[in-house]
């Protein structure tokens, strides 16, 4: 793989990581304030539809963006009403919001445009166009210039405005959360709301503020998908990004800069998956890695409870079995035969990594202590 290909993959990683990053930071604000949000997905979807529909109707992408944010914030308000004011179950509320968005977008899109639940393609002006930095060269001349120019023109320049907005949101979130009084209070509300209440600060107000910020960021994420990444809304176009953002949030242990890293990593997986249909590895390395994983698992559970032995040991044997299957299947051709990594494995990597992190095998992810618990004021 040459340098330019790498740059192209990184470039597309950045594009694909942007909605994840915005949604991940959205979840960060909400969860740091103690409100679990399974409904990121629904908010992204709602905003994607509304921004595409409004941008198409008005011809202005900015009006579309505002409308998308508005739709997302409305869903946030429902979530806030259910989980803050009415002290309902935050997870159930999030699930409901996901379905509400999945259903309403298609029903309304069908009634509005009559194109089977999609919006018509956006013309220029209705989309966020790529911003070319001064001096950046178009991609067809890319092969003739040096690596620094390639880096500048391919990776840094040529993204839509929202990509840069998303990147700027990271230091901004860090600043708000860790350097301002508001941020301190917001984090405190997620850890120990009673203490915040005692200090005379409204827990309800702080939590609503967090939920609304979450709505705004999800709104930008949705608008980015429909008006920058794509040029119209299609049914279920958020494609699980809200859940991947949730995974990234856990992977990042609820921290802004780590969130950037996690989202870029997950974006990279998608970019690799898009770009390379066949990823080949020599059989010996593949079965070797699997065998080592299996050995690691089995040795880990050696002195543990029976349950650990059954579950993790069983998992270890499963992995060893796959490794042996690989060895058997390539035995006649020799161990250096190239083996194709299944595409679905790359696609599932974000989820698998999240489970591994959640399980606490690689650094423990500890959520905010009062996450998911409605606050009942002492009487």
């Amino acid at each position: 793989m040459d340098f330019l290909t790498l740059l192209q993959v990184l470039d597309s990683s950045l594009r694909l990581a942007t909605p994840l990053l915005l949604a991940c930071l959205a979840g960060l604000f909400s969860e740091r304030a103690g409100i679990f949000d399974i409904g990121l997905e629904g908010k992204i979807l709602a905003s994607a539809f509304v921004s595409a529909a409004v941008a198409y109707t008005t011809g202005s992408v900015w009006v579309g963006l505002l409308a998308g944010i508005g739709a997302s914030v409305m869903l946030s308000a429902i979530h806030g009403l259910a989980s803050i004011t009415l002290r309902g179950d935050q997870i159930i509320s999030g699930v409901a919001i996901n379905f509400l968005a999945a259903g309403l977008t298609v029903v309304v899109a069908q009634a509005w445009f009559g194109q089977g639940g999609r919006t018509p393609p956006l013309q220029s002006g209705g989309r966020f166009e790529p911003i070319n930095f001064p001096g950046a060269i178009p991609s067809k001349e890319m092969a003739d210039v040096g690596p620094v120019m390639q880096l500048y023109s391919e990776l840094l320049s040529g993204h839509s405005l929202l990509v840069y907005v998303a990147l700027l949101t990271v230091p901004l979130s860090w600043f708000v959360l860790y350097q301002t009084r508001f941020g301190l209070r917001l984090r405190a509300v997620g850890e120990n709301p009673a203490a915040v209440d005692t200090a005379g600060i409204s827990v309800v107000g702080m939590r609503y503020a967090a939920v609304i910020i979450c709505g705004v960021l999800c709104g930008i994420a949705g608008a980015y998908i429909a008006t920058a990444l794509q040029a119209n809304f299609t049914k279920d176009m958020s494609a699980g990004r809200g859940f991947i953002a949730l995974a990234a949030l856990i992977f990042a242990k609820w921290r802004p800069w780590y969130a950037l890293g996690a989202c870029l990593l997950f974006g990279f997986f998608f970019a690799v998956d898009n770009r390379f249909q066949n990823i080949l590895l020599p059989a010996w390395s593949l079965s070797g890695v699997l065998l080592l994983t299996a050995l690691g698992l089995v040795s880990y559970v050696w002195r543990k409870d029976l349950l650990d032995k059954i579950v993790l040991g069983g998992l270890g044997f499963g992995v060893a079995f796959v490794s042996i299957l690989i060895v058997i299947s390539v035995w006649s051709a020799g161990m250096s035969t190239q083996i194709k990594i299944p595409v679905v494995f790359i696609q599932s990597l974000p989820y698998i990594l999240t489970v591994v992190v959640l399980a606490g095998f690689v650094g423990k992810a500890i959520p905010p202590r009062s996450g998911g618990v409605p606050y009942v004021k002492e009487k």
């Binding site: 509320s93 029903v107 009634a111 494995f345 959640l358």
Partner: protein, 363 residues
């Protein structure tokens, strides 16, 4: 809080939620320029007034009973199994392995084998998140969501790879052998001498397995020591521990039963209807289980009634999509509203009812 008698809490709150959801849906139908009355008439005519309509409705109901029971049994232990979708997918894999690779002499034996296969696969897929919750403290909601996506990947892997017959283009297994095909309601009606009943409707004998599962879950939860322990853990973890209930054991067992029930859904869809394993055969039924369990107040009888309601909505929604401009996704909106009102906004639904009862008490 006990302003309302228990029956009112159990019956009126879900009913009131349903009325609210129906009202909002009617507004939505009006807003997109159709008539709610016409829509309801179409739904009733296409579902309840034709035997084939019943056949489709009960087919959907069967799925929803399984997933609804699965979610409710987890609710009793204060666990939220949002991974029904993935567990059902793995169940489908179990069913197809059993049906494809074991030569069954008769469907009655095949359905036992397939049930075991489905339950074991669903159980394993729920057991891993359960283990991570019980022993490593990872939040079960997040892990089960992740396992849904991983299950979709696993299913995809097998359906475009090892299990796809050579030369076939669509991601599906080969057709199951004829000896594993389950009798549909049409076959059964013919056996009883009724011709032209349930014509080409997919409902099949697995409906009766779903009914049996209702009874079994009722017995387990309210009549067995294990059910008592599950409920004790759900009400209060520390109290249960004090009473000698091991939380690790109960979380594992509850989730594995829950996963097995979700897996069993696949005998209806895979062995009963499509007679081969296809991608996306779950069609979101794992998530509808959440609405069904909430609506049915986690009681098997309630789950049965709620599953019938959602079966009606699904079949009715298909009728609507066929005859009007209202897309099928309207049903997802109704489902979302039901989840919202029965699960998240219960305080809002309950408050006016409580006020009503207070007024009635005072005379």
């Amino acid at each position: 809080m006990d302003v309302m008698p228990k029956w009112a809490d159990v019956v009126l709150v879900p009913l009131f939620s349903l009325v609210l959801a129906a009202f909002l849906s009617a507004l939505l139908i009006l807003a997109i320029g159709e008539s709610p009355g016409e829509a309801l008439k179409l739904m009733v005519e296409g579902t309840l007034l034709r035997s084939a309509g019943w056949g489709y409705m009960l087919y959907y109901t069967t799925n929803f009973i399984f997933t609804g029971l699965a979610v409710s049994i987890a609710f009793h232990a204060s666990l939220f199994n949002i991974g029904g979708e993935g567990q059902a997918m793995m169940g489908g894999l179990g069913v197809s392995l059993v049906c494809l690779f074991i030569p069954w002499p008769h469907w009655s034996l095949a359905i036992i084998g397939a049930s075991v296969g489905a339950a074991v696969f669903g159980m394993i897929w729920a057991g891993l998140p359960a283990y991570l919750q019980a022993k490593r403290g990872s939040h079960i909601v997040i892990t089960t969501i992740m396992f849904n996506f991983i299950a979709a990947g696993v299913l995809n892997f097998f359906l475009v790879g090892a299990l796809k017959p050579k030369g076939s283009m669509d991601p599906a297994t080969a057709n199951f052998p004829a000896s594993t095909h389950l009798p549909t309601f049409e076959d059964m009606a013919q056996l009883l001498g009724f011709e032209k009943m349930f014509r080409s409707a997919p409902a099949n004998v697995s409906f009766f397995i779903a009914l049996m599962a209702c009874v079994a879950v009722w017995y387990l939860i309210w009549r067995s020591p294990l059910g008592y322990e599950i409920r004790a853990l759900g009400k209060s973890g520390p109290a249960a521990r004090y009473a000698g209930v091991g939380s690790v054991k109960i979380i594992m067992i509850t989730m594995m039963i829950s996963g097995a029930l979700c897996g069993l859904m696949a005998i209806n869809t895979t062995q009963g209807e499509s007679e081969r394993l296809i991608l996306n055969f779950t069609e979101g039924a794992g998530f509808i289980g959440i609405a069904v369990a909430l609506m049915g107040r986690s009681h098997p009888l309630g789950v049965l009634l709620a599953a019938l309601l959602f079966g009606f909505l699904y079949q009715g929604g298909a009728e609507l999509a066929l005859w009007t401009k209202i897309p099928r996704e309207l049903i997802i909106v109704i489902q979302a509203l039901v989840i919202l009102f029965t699960g998240a906004l219960t305080m809002m639904v309950r408050a006016p009812l409580e006020r009503l009862f207070l007024m009635a008490w005072r005379g």
